[in-house]
Amino acid sequence: MKSAVIVFPASNCDRDIAVALEQATGKKPAMVWHGETDLPDADFYALPGGFSYGDYLRAGAMAAKSPILRAVIDKAKSGAPLIGVCNGFQILCETGLLPGVLLRNANLNFVCRTVTLKVENTQSMFTSGYSKGDYVNFPVAHHDGNYFADDETLDRLEGEGRVSLRYVDNPNGSARNIAGLISDGGNVMGLMPHPERVISPLLGGADGAAFFKNIVEAVS
């Protein structure tokens, strides 16, 4: 399976997710700079965490308008699997590929700790390796992770089973404890926690290794 990671100025989890994808697929992913206009052919695309463009204007806003994102949006609309982690989730919301927005954390604190997440939906390729009600532990590290959408949108997301991960103990004020979401087409996922940071017991946990392995199996 071929994968590609998009790299923005001030991405800082691009290498982490590249290592996680290499571990899961056996191949180094292509690293694609934000100024490019064409994407390499791949089976899986990732928008990494970080603070693209310094979070100027709004988190993810500038990255969502960068040249490469036009190609990423086209790929996603044609059904290619795409994941956005942390800043990647913020970028996905700014593009409109996922609904809603990530606001400043309700407690105003930068939260940086491991959180427990409940797997809510196992229909998508991102979570099909889990059983509903499974728990995973991934770290969070963000200042703007407070998921917000209007009640109508939240009801629709819940009704369509698109809330894939929920915080057990909400660290940031997110509406309905939402930590991860799936697009209406099922091929795009955004999540604030960082599975790519826990891919080996040496790093404090291996729940992320299983997360990526499950995705690779579902996509392959």
Binding site: A61, K65, E94, V101, L103, R104, F148, G173
Partner: protein, 80 residues
């Protein structure tokens, strides 16, 4: 022409920074300051010489980049 664009959070969108400012104001003894909301102002010069055209361009900028309609409203002032 110059444009001054004011971006504010929509009603109902949590504004913890506004709440923190409100608390700090109360701590300084400014009684009665309520519903404090923080926004941002963006100013720019525009090549347009016609007010309507300048406004239309600024509005397009707001819709495409400067404001996120999920959480923000914007107001445009065109200054000579």
């Amino acid at each position: 022409m110059k444009a001054k664009i004011t971006i504010t959070l929509k009603n109902g969108v949590l504004d913890p920074q506004g709440a923190a400012i409100e608390n700090a104001l109360a701590g300084l003894g400014f009684d009665g300051a309520e519903s404090v909301r923080q926004g941002k102002v963006i100013e720019m010069k525009l090549a347009e010489t016609d007010e309507a055209a300048a406004r239309a361009k600024a509005e397009e900028m707001c819709k495409k980049l400067l404001a996120n309609p999920v959480m923000e409203n914007f107001a445009i002032e065109i200054l000579a």
